[in-house]
Symmetry: D2
Subunit: 331 residues, 4 copies
């Protein structure tokens, strides 16, 4: 296990602060150039589409924690209502919602009906991007922006709304650790993925990782969760030193099919989520979590092609430190 | 103004019920074949990306209505908190959230800090897809599914979770009505867009609309809203007969930069939103609303190319009748 | 175990439909007359106050269920924010909330600061009243109102807003089953409380139950929950025939320190919560749940006085089928 | 208009810091003794009840602001649903909520049905108590507690959960400024209520204000809002120096039928809400806002009795800086 001193030394080595100017809030998304985007589109050969988003509903993994809840989806008007909304709404003076709604349905012959709904959710409750402002240390966000610029009004710097201009679309590459290790379902806890193992997997799959790519790491955790519904199930994820590996390859972002991308056990003494700290704050590299890679991995195994056009646009929530997404891989 | 009898006659003409089998819940998204998807990717030449999503925040147009509110984005932990969370959280026995959070920050040398947030929003508060279950009449949804299969638990049939397998990605075509009419900012109310005018615009732009395309109609309403912040501002949108035009061209979906795609004044006597009823319920064709087409339109006007790869994946909210999105056009 | 036929026979016997007119939505709260209210105030001798509400937070019992969640309390502005809100808010054009908030704090010498918060909660997530519209059967609510008058816009009939004119205040009487049975902590499952046992307890305590009283039944479940934090912990509650007992004594309402007042095992074959059906729909008698009776019971045991002024006003949520409350007993 | 220097001098004069010990978080609620509570109950003569809470719904005054929204009340299951929930719920594997709900309704002869609902609201969206932690200055809350002890996890000090042990119940006294001034509907802006005027009103009404009382000030604003539905409507409220008047009379709390109790125009140069700062932070005196005093005032005018038992228990939201309430006056 590394010390905080060693961690800080690595942090200096991987830092991209200032690399794209003092005002930059894109970080490694800068590696995604127009050429890269066009090349990524060129990877589409068959028109096969793989949505990587999981269900946004009450069956998610958040029940295991107090600080995030599963998405709550509620119908505000539904199929059983129309007749009675038309009947009661307009006469219900004290109920503005009922009146307005009832009005839409009013009229003896008016056939018009509709359903509507709402959602309450932590922005990182299910498939998501972490914005660069999500994790930090020493009072600084990525590129030296002050940590207290994230107020109750949201992230003034490094919010998710600062990156949506990128799309986000580029070449995606899948590294299938489950297949590589020959694991039954998922990478059981106690055996973090090292930089060397990432190289091995890439080599075995015959794929190279390059500048501007988004790397998808399959650990099988989401499949495991489908079996157990235990959101607190421990697992092996990326060792914190993989941050350096990602930095050296000039990767644009990384995502995985587990809760935190990185290993559940911190590889640095006396702290928590060291890879998050390095990626988000020092490298300026976004993390994607809860991506369901099952179907994509099966297709990649079948045709031996582990690269594809990836499109993963965040919602433009102003000042958000993360965004729910439904990323799409196209082959 | 047409009668309900005329409306019902058109409804029969455009109906796709049974066309793709009795179990179909995809509707005109069936027109998006793998070939079509691959061809759409082939439209990417320069790697220019145009996100079409608007801001999800308190400045949106929903303030004008009681049945939907603007998105409420709230920080659940933010930059000013870390030191005090570490101090107070662990000793606050009655506060599970505080204890859990404080724990993450505990440890004298532990530098780890993070921000988190949540959102409360109607699923159609900002840039969105209407699912096929959103609007209906005569107790039936698209393809004859019973309207009461949409319960408080969500849409058992024709929910947004039934289409996310499509991606959704295909060829997008922009029809710029603002430019065509030479309007200053937007299409002022009183002059609905007719099928003939859509043909004229396509011809003037030198672009053809074909099977599986998604048509984007620019009316300038979003630009107007930026000026006025009046979500109830009336405007000209598509005449209800455009539904037939979309049906004949076998379009996959339609979207616009206004609140409802169609004109604010119903073209059918005694009812409301007739184009919604035809598109969603009879044709099985999804509508996209609040898409910001400003930057895309400027680019199309500049290079004369009005077609592009469009990627607009909905969130997989189980049983939802709509989804917030950030659609991406890539040229 | 009783049959549904027997259940329906009892339902007829206890029905109060029409008793206070066809328009009545108060039910047994009608038993609370001005005289009764004045007499209840007369029970206050020492000025000792016992709030009976539990914590509204993430530590509640709802984690055990999918259809209700624990209350989510979120700060919208907090202590760490003020300086930075003043700094960033006013310059953040795209953030209406931030601008407005920042404005409050603006001015070099302006010392004014504040905190604000919000809550998301099922109305019956913690200490609560069930409104008469909460439970029903055979398509009818209390007094014959149609069940479908409860739409997505809320309960047009028998909502909580129909009873708040009553206060609600009257004489409260505690029946301490835990003490009576000599239970260690709570009434373990398998032994429902019968009408006879209620009589025994009242007699042993030297207290009589009369018209317009609100009866509080202590089962110890809330104390048990404090130990286990298991919201699905089973217990003994009131047998369904206690509904008849309450009806005969012309009680105004009943409340308990458990999840559902009545026993977790239905005493009627083929259905669920028979006492709820009788009380809310046939008798028109409200149920209070999750009332913490611990301190009140200790005081009653100490001075032998089991009656008091009870004040339990619901929030006036228009059309709500329940309301969070903090009931107060005053002795 | 006073200067900040004068404000700070008054602040020192009215400070109650340390008066009830260094750990005190009750402030002037300490004036409510058991004797006072018992005497207040003794004011109940006729059993007439006046709930003072307003509607919690979409028609409230919050539409005028971005930082608070009106309460959003949503049905999670309603009258039109039961049959179809029973039909679709159990077969909907991907929908935990639907499955659980459908299960409750399952069984061919099972008549059991129910409705349920939830609410999303700022805790100060409608009738409310401000907790002592709501407003502060110079980095200190009431009694010197550090302002940053209010974190995203809530108010560690001076939260609403710290006062609920008091009930809150005591003698209430109404001061009817509308009647006193002979105003048509409400106190139009430009003429703040002074301490002298409060004395005059009390004298004219033949009522004295004493230690431990809660003073209710009727300005007519809520009646005005019923006419205009304009939540930003300006008005005359209490001049900031009334804080000193309340302090000298050792009042327990103050409430009004307007948005902020105090005048909309600050009486102290360069700052905002000076009376809030003095009351909450220096005196330790809670403010009640949006109390509907119309019916109570009519009754007081009719019988000439302006005192009553007041019961206004806050919800026990752990760490909240305010609470929705439905206060009850009993005469």
């Amino acid at each position: 296990m590394a010390t905080l001193t060693e961690f800080r030394r690595v942090a200096e080595q991987v830092s991209n602060w200032g690399r794209w100017g003092a005002a930059d809030e894109l970080g490694t998304l800068n590696f995604i150039t127009p050429d890269k985007i066009a090349q990524a589109a060129g990877l589409v050969r068959h028109g096969r589409v793989f949505p990587l988003g999981v269900d946004f509903d009450s069956s998610g993994p958040q029940g295991a924690f107090k600080f995030r809840q599963n998405p709550v989806h509620v119908m505000t008007v539904d199929g059983g209502d129309a007749r009675t909304m038309a009947q009661y709404g307009p006469q219900w003076a004290a109920n503005g919602f009922g009146q307005e709604f009832g009005g839409f349905f009013a009229g003896e012959e008016n056939p018009f009906r509709f359903n509507d709904d709402m959602i309450v959710m932590p922005l990182q409750a299910a498939t998501q991007w972490d914005a660069l402002s999500h994790v930090y240390y020493d009072e600084k966000l990525y590129n030296g922006f002050p940590a207290d610029s994230v107020t109750s009004a949201g992230a003034f710097h490094c919010g998710i709304d600062k990156v949506d201009g990128k799309g986000i679309t580029t070449r995606g590459v899948l590294l299938d650790l489950v297949r590589h290790r020959g694991a039954d379902v998922f990478l059981e806890p106690g055996n973090p993925i090292t930089p060397d193992e990432l190289d091995e997997v890439a080599k075995a799959q015959g794929v190279e990782i390059g500048r501007g790519d988004i790397v998808l790491v399959r650990t099988g955790w989401w499949s495991r969760f489908q079996e157990t519904r235990d959101g607190a199930e421990p697992y092996s994820g990326l060792d914190w030193m993989c941050a350096k590996w990602l930095h050296e390859r000039e990767v644009a972002a990384v995502a995985a099919d587990n809760l935190m991308v990185e290993d559940v056990v911190s590889g640095v003494e006396g702290t928590f989520l060291p890879m998050h700290m390095l990626c988000l704050r020092d490298i300026g590299l976004m993390l994607g979590e809860y991506w369901d890679l099952t179907a994509l991995a099966a297709d990649c195994a079948a045709d031996g092609v582990y690269e594809f056009q990836l499109v993963a646009p965040p919602l433009r929530v102003v000042g958000a430190v993360g965004s729910p997404i439904n990323p799409i891989a196209i082959k």
